[in-house]
Symmetry: C2
Subunit: 593 residues, 2 copies
């Protein structure tokens, strides 16, 4: 839930949300009790039954419906769990508060379209196929089912108060305007893309816009990356009574699958936007030119003007199941200072710490780095100094996430990149570069986030050096009717243009949402492979050379062999990436037809 | 077979070889005849039986032995072939000249250690596992078996006449000498590495050596790349009566498996050398510094002084089973001119042609581009001009192959790269760079070849722009006892150093010869994957950062995530490669301990 009301309203809403959160936790603890009633839950929380019903109704459901749904979800999770295979279906029904197994079968089939027995069998088969998913962070099936049949207790973002871009200024050119989108809780969405989000700004093709972005990892060292910064404080604010940006991820808002919190962390990036582009329609292409990228300086007086970043070697990193030294497994956070002076631009490590369990303000314990944004309590971790001593890491400032809203589903996990852009994690997307993205929904709905001070090809540990930054962009809409002969004429994927190169983005699954359907958001994690991504990059480059550069297939293959460089983009984003780089220089002497 | 004798001697030996070749072909055609005798074969070829026996004996076997071996090989190939599954074992025995199936079973078991029935079952299982090998160019099992039990009709290279380096000159420094190894039939080995090859030169650590290398693809346009060039003419000379370098590949010399010719093309690179390094012993490291790389100009008066190269999109290319346009499948050769003037260094395509069946001078028809070196008869292909029109491909001159002799087996296919170097196909191995290679055999035995004018990361179509070049190298031996604290202290793979970077070479199978044992040379083709190569590159880089740079594992992972670039080296060399690049610049300010 995103609080965008006034201070007093926010207080009231936050209190209600907190009570509802506690009610849900009580229900969760007592799902096995077949005699659980609203009256007993209300009594346990010291509120009236009527207020309880009102709270549930206020979020679009009823206590009875919610309770049954939770029981069915829990039961289905146990049916799908190989570790529960020795329990009969009746046992599972009883354990989840159903005292009549025939009734259980009936409501289960009504809910999931399969009998409990059929469902269990199907899940066994699925688990066999996707056992490689272990250790990845794809969506559990029950979460997907829950989301598909969404009756969220709390909506993603209130649309009652349509927000506005901070300010609109006439640009020098006169014709085009400049916009500025400051970062603030009401102007971000955290961990997901959605075609339903209200735009934070609307621009005309050709306009420029400055977009402030925050790294979702700022809470790894709040003193250096949040404190004193009104925008960051607004986005990260999370107390026992209030969480300014409730949803973190595209998962269920009622935090029921893993209980990690609203959105479950199925998606992690703080995205500023979306920005609507006037007249953009599906089939068009949006050119996003990056005119400038500037790190966001610290506003805390103790470090005023300095710039900091964080990098986490997390459980979703490529190395995680491969660790050599103790303790195993473990996660480590490194805090960096970003130095940009006349002589050099580099990052240097300040200190690091191993993750220790953190209790978030709502009382959830995070034994692992469940998702970025859980505040790290100073003193709860042991800081190690003299790490990467003397090493200076050259900067490659860029935005990890540049996305248009996908058309297939409403809540899309921000982690796996796809045809719509998203978490591309390609450092070539910095100042002076552009990315061309296919428009899928009216208005295009551009979101930007996941700023990186630098990253290696591969992003091996799971994150780059994550650092809040502000970008200035020019947005140019290319209408479908006017594309003939242009480089993006048949574009179906994010195409990056740097000053010197064309960079084509290949993925294990070019459009995983369409390919896997409802299961896309978990299957993509289970089936990623560089071999698949290489195949995709090859096919895209061949098509580019044939359709855009007018080569025959034989010429395209010959040129790829001798002049195109294939590289690993990332092996940590669910949908692994291989890019193909084509130098513009090759064509400098080509006669124009 | 490699002819290194005088002109008259060469004529005699070549004649004998040609007769033996024809005898073998006759045997091959009549394997099904249970009454085949040496007398009948001799009669068919118009020679005496005694001369026939002498020819077979001269190559270390006997007619009877050879005939039985060929029958068993053919029978085992049919037993292993799923397409022959409907034939009974007795039928297969009869078809191959055995008129008693009990006798067949006995000799088969004696030869292969399994009964025909057990052998067939084993091959069915193997085929299931390695069905992905289809379309790759790994060794068939029978070829491996044949080679392991080698009784080659003709040895790889006569060791009777130990060759010498062309000339040895005192270098300027006084202490170290300069050597020159001109290319010529007697100084190359084609398609394989071997610990048994006699050295062509012996150098001291610190000496420099100029090594001429030829592209094995020169016969794609003999007029531009062979004619008038005495060295190239010597290596490529192949008439109905003489083939100066007989063995092309590490396969059986009697061309029995596919009948493609001696060596079968299991390995393709013309390698100059080997060069022995005095005092080199297993456990040492040889540093091969590339001081200069110069293209080899054409000596044909029609094109005198120009430089040419060839690139083949061949059946072993990544694209081959993925072609979009007709005809399918097909192979295409592109001939390039290499331009190096003061203003620009680039390759431009001159023309291309599609491969048409070529009959080699020994009468074998090559319907596909079986291996490089089959002379393309002018007029047998249709040249297409205006290909890649106006496109200028920047040069990256380098050597695809820099190898030390492997220790595991004697004849090693030159295609899959491994711990000993070999076909690295990394364009970073050019002028100013060095590669560190672990020494496995006394003298190290360095071979250099596969010169490339340029190549893209991936080498997608199967070849680079292949172009004869001459390199000047300095060879520095690092003794095992003196390595502590050096960058190659625990080296187990080829480590490339450029002026700016460390480039670590990852492979699908870091040492496929040891990993797969006798089946290594075919299994590696069947099981290559970028995912495996990525894992290897990650592990090698972690070890480098921990052992050589003294980082903790947490530091190593953090640095890899933010500063190490993983890229695709090649997806066409059997053992696919991913490299990891570490910039030296990172460490410029690290205090020395």
């Amino acid at each position: 839930m995103q609080q965008i009301a006034t201070a007093t309203e926010a207080g009231g809403t936050a209190t209600q949300a907190a009570i509802l959160h506690r009610l849900c936790q009580t229900v969760e603890r007592k799902l096995d009790d077949p005699d659980l009633t609203p009256a007993r839950v209300a009594e346990a929380e010291g509120i009236s039954e009527r207020y309880l019903q009102k709270l549930f109704e206020g979020s679009g459901t009823s206590f009875t419906h919610y309770l049954r749904e939770r029981r069915l979800q829990r039961a289905s999770a146990e049916l799908a769990n190989p570790a529960e295979a020795h329990h009969s279906i009746s046992e599972i029904a009883y354990r989840n508060g159903f005292n009549d197994s025939a009734h259980f079968s009936r409501v289960f089939r009504h809910r999931f379209g399969l009998s409990p027995r059929e469902f269990r069998q199907q899940e066994v088969e699925r688990a066999t196929v996707s056992s490689v998913a272990a250790g990845q962070r794809g969506w559990p099936q029950q979460a997907l089912a829950q989301l598909r049949n969404h009756h969220p207790l709390v909506n993603a973002r209130k649309s009652a108060a349509p927000p506005q871009a901070d300010c609109i200024l006439p640009s020098n050119g006169g014709e085009h305007r400049h916009h500025h989108l400051a970062v603030e809780a009401s102007r971000v969405h955290w961990g997901y893309f959605s075609r339903s989000l209200p735009p934070q700004a609307e621009v005309n093709s050709g306009d420029t816009i400055t977009i402030e972005t925050l790294t979702q990892h700022a809470s790894d060292d709040p003193a250096r990356m949040i404190k004193g910064d009104a925008g960051a404080e607004s986005v990260f604010r999370w107390t026992p009574n209030a969480k300014n940006v409730d949803r973190r991820g595209a998962g269920p808002i009622d935090a029921s699958v893993y209980g990690r919190g609203a959105g479950e962390g199925f998606g992690v990036h703080i995205c500023t936007g979306p920005v609507a582009v006037k007249d953009a329609q599906p089939g068009d292409v949006l050119e996003v030119r990056i005119l400038d990228v500037v790190p966001r300086p610290c506003r805390n007086r103790d470090f005023e003007g300095q710039v900091f970043g964080s990098s986490v070697a997390a459980w979703w990193g490529y190395h995680y199941n491969e660790l050599l030294t103790e303790r195993k497994p473990r996660e480590a956070v490194t805090i960096y200072e970003i130095v940009e002076d006349a002589e050099a631009r580099y990052a240097r490590a300040l200190y690091s710490y191993r993750w220790e369990p953190q209790t978030d303000p709502f009382g959830v314990v995070h034994a692992t780095y469940d998702y970025p944004g859980v505040p790290v309590v100073p003193g709860s971790v042991k800081r190690r100094h003299n790490v990467l001593d003397g090493i200076r890491i050259p900067l490659r400032p860029h935005f990890g996430v540049v996305a248009l809203a996908p058309r297939e589903v409403d809540f899309v996990d921000s982690i796996p990149p796809s045809y719509f852009g998203g978490n591309l994690d390609n450092w070539r997307l910095g100042k002076g570069s552009a990315v061309y993205l296919p428009v899928s929904v009216p208005g295009a709905l551009l979101s930007v986030g996941d700023p990186h001070a630098t990253q290696g090809d591969g992003e091996l540990g799971g994150t780059a050096i994550e650092c809040s930054m502000t970008g200035t962009f020019q947005l140019i809409l290319h209408k479908k009717a006017d594309m003939a002969g242009r480089v993006f004429a048949d574009l179906t994927y994010p195409l990056i243009e740097t000053e010197t190169d064309w960079v084509l983005t290949g993925f294990s699954h070019p459009n995983y949402l369409a390919e896997f359907g409802a299961k896309g958001q978990s299957e993509v994690y289970a089936t990623s492979s560089l071999d698949l991504a290489m195949k995709d990059a090859f096919r895209k480059m061949r098509r580019f050379l044939m359709n855009i550069k007018g080569l025959s297939e034989d010429e395209a293959i010959a040129l790829m062999s001798s002049a195109v460089d294939f590289g690993v983009t990332q092996v940590v984003d669910g949908n692994w990436g291989v890019h193909a780089i084509l130098s513009k220089r090759l064509f400098e002497h080509v006669p124009r037809s």
